[in-house]
């Protein structure tokens, strides 16, 4: 609609003629940081922030495991809240989660190597673990979704600009429902490291994205699983948005030779623990 149609008297044109509706840029235009610093500067910023968090914690401040305000991750600068979240008691709906079940996902969706006519390129792996709440209780019947780059470090997403080959036999997305013991398992290909434009020569350590539903909506979790011994850990601003080493270590899947299948696949184990209360914390009706 032109301004003449929406404003037949032309009054608004006088007062707001300079207002041009902002046209959104293509999202890939937003992927590069504005300043493109060298890796050495990012390393220094990470070290300075981690030291500052250590001081604040020592002074008695309670900090989250993952920091929202973490400028070395450049695209977080305009996207993190500046005010502290309000601490509230979860109410009603928040103590429950969507009810998933086997009908939501087919068993084959947990095997990312079987989605095409041929076998994908790369190192075949299995990743498995348990989904637990903070009391160690298994969470059954919940949805776990994963997505990842292929063995060459390329995402199938159309906005990915990394000129590494796509694999016609690998999409890189899968999902499963946890069983009665909270156990889950995926068969996939080990993803490659992935270059991005946060800074000059920025590379993400190899990782698999995980989306997890707990037994309460408060426990909703999106995170990434990494692989042991990756030389890129210290260089990666996203991994280091988690401020303490012990918490960062919790995102590393452990190589488990007992899960490795002879002549077939390398096995990794990674248990997931979700935070926050759910409806089972409360005394049942009528027993108050």
């Amino acid at each position: 609609m032109t301004s003449a149609e929406s404003d037949p008297t032309g009054e608004e044109a006088f007062s707001s003629s300079v207002i041009v509706e902002q046209t959104a840029v293509a999202p890939e235009q937003l992927l590069a940081s504005a300043d493109m610093p060298p890796q050495s500067q990012i390393n220094q910023e990470i070290a300075d922030l981690h030291a500052e968090y250590g001081r604040r914690e020592a002074a008695g401040e309670k900090l989250r495991a993952t920091m929202y305000d973490f400028p070395p991750y450049r695209s977080s600068i305009l996207r993190h809240p500046t005010k502290n979240p309000k601490l509230v008691d979860p109410e009603t709906i928040e103590l429950w989660s969507p009810a998933y079940g086997q009908r939501d996902v087919a068993a084959i969706e947990a095997d990312l190597t079987l989605q095409h006519r041929g076998e994908p390129q790369g190192e075949r792996i299995t990743v498995q673990g348990r989904l637990l709440d903070s009391w160690g209780r298994p969470i059954p019947n919940q949805l776990i979704e994963i997505w990842q780059a292929n063995a060459a470090g390329r995402y199938i997403h159309q906005r990915d600009q990394h000129p590494a080959p796509l694999d016609p036999n690998f999409t890189g997305a899968g999902r499963t429902i946890t069983d009665d013991n909270g156990e889950w398992k995926f068969t996939t290909i080990k993803p490659g490291p992935y270059p991005w434009k946060n800074h000059i020569n920025a590379w993400r350590p190899a990782h698999i994205h995980f989306s997890i539903f707990g037994s309460g909506f408060t426990q909703r979790l999106v995170t990434q699983m990494y692989f042991p011994g990756d030389p890129l850990f210290a260089l990666d601003p996203i991994y280091n948005t988690i401020r303490s080493q012990k918490d960062r270590d919790r995102l590393i899947g452990q190589y488990d030779h007992d899960l490795t299948v002879p002549e077939f696949s390398m096995g990794y184990r990674w248990d997931i623990v979700v935070d926050g209360p759910d409806s089972t914390w409360f005394e049942p009706e009528g027993e108050h």
Partner: protein, 193 residues
Amino acid sequence: MARTLRSDLQGKEQLEITPGQTVGPFFAFGTVYPKMHEVVFPHSPGAIVLSGIVYDGAGAPIPDALVEIWSADPDGNIPRGRGSRRRDDHTFTGFGRSATTDEGRFEFWTVNPGSVDGEAPFYAVAVFARGLPDKLMTRIYLPDDQEKLDADPFLSSLTPEERATLIATRLPNGYLRHDIRLQGENETVFLEF
């Protein structure tokens, strides 16, 4: 999961929590699925559109955010129906997911949640985005029952400006409009539990 008395858990050692990470830039192929934003079938009786724009601290729309809602049904029942990921077009599962468009817009077909336990009705909301290091939780309250909104202990603890960031706007056609601002002026109130 079996219900556990809260008193039984007291003093029990807790496991360390798995920390969150950003959803990243390329979540669409892993998280987008058919009808994910259709909590109810479009245009079915009682169906409304809940939509809005996710903004960054410079006031620019965020084209790579993921918004999820989870709510009671119109009678205030907690949904226990399965099938959020594979819709049958009639079971109310209460859960929806919407990836923002290139203009930063999210949109759901859903219903007005009813009041649960007499509280002011709201949608529980999770927000994820590239550039956002961890999830954000918030609520979208229905604007209609002023008495319940005024009586709500949490809303009452907020300033009027803060409260306004949590209450949707009712449009003349009955739909709901609600923007989410991750940062800056009128920054949305986010929650920690």
